[in-house]
């Protein structure tokens, strides 16, 4: 098990980052902070997916002059590109909401907002 974890240290790092992000979301009170946490989670997942496509001694999957096999898998990269866009879209919407919430309630601390309800 430990050896497997060591071999897959990239995956493990992603999981750790994922959990840190989750921790921020659950434990922190500030909405912006929560969202930073979510972004960390997202990058962690992206990192995991990128790591899936890695091949030992591989090159970027760009077939130009000087490129030589083996190449990293292009699919995870394409997925992550889309994923990043999705992440920034979510962030933009969330921050818009946070701005509005601050406008209306004067605070972005989750517990204070809960009291206002």
């Amino acid at each position: 098990m430990l050896e497997a974890l060591w071999n897959n240290v990239d995956y493990v790092a992603s999981v750790v980052l994922f959990c840190i992000g989750l921790y921020i979301i659950i434990a922190k009170n500030n909405l912006i902070k929560k969202f930073l946490g979510l972004n960390i989670m997202e990058t962690a997942v992206f990192s995991f997916i990128i790591a899936l496509g890695v091949i030992d001694g591989g090159d970027a999957p760009i077939m130009g002059a000087g490129a030589h096999a083996p190449f990293s898998s292009p699919v995870p990269q394409a997925l992550v590109l889309t994923g990043i866009v999705v992440a920034v879209s979510t962030t933009a919407l969330a921050l818009s909401l946070i701005i509005r919430i601050y406008r209306q309630c004067g605070t972005i601390e989750a517990d204070e907002l809960r009291e206002m309800e």
Binding site: L17, N30, L36, A60, V85, A92, E109
Partner: protein, 80 residues
């Protein structure tokens, strides 16, 4: 050598992420997050994913951070 670089990057990432969690100043947290993204971008470049690295640099470190900064500017800088 490469493995050492990798491990350093990963450790650095985790440390930055923890720093984001600890920071009380939201502006600081956002900047830390930006550096986290840049670190991620380096890692991905190193993993043979230059496209993604570029996107992460432009979007993750760039646009996302700007949006966070705007939001912090429009709300509050301190986390209670």
């Amino acid at each position: 050598m490469s493995a050492v670089f990798d491990i350093m990057l990963l450790v650095f990432l985790i440390v930055t992420a923890l720093a984001v969690a600890r920071a009380k100043d939201l502006l600081g947290a956002a900047i830390l997050f930006s550096s986290y993204s840049l670190m991620m971008c380096l890692l991905w470049q190193h993993r043979g994913a230059p496209d993604v690295a570029m996107t992460e640099a432009a979007v993750g470190a760039g646009i996302t951070t700007v949006l966070f900064l705007v939001a912090i500017g429009r709300t509050t800088r301190r986390e209670k």
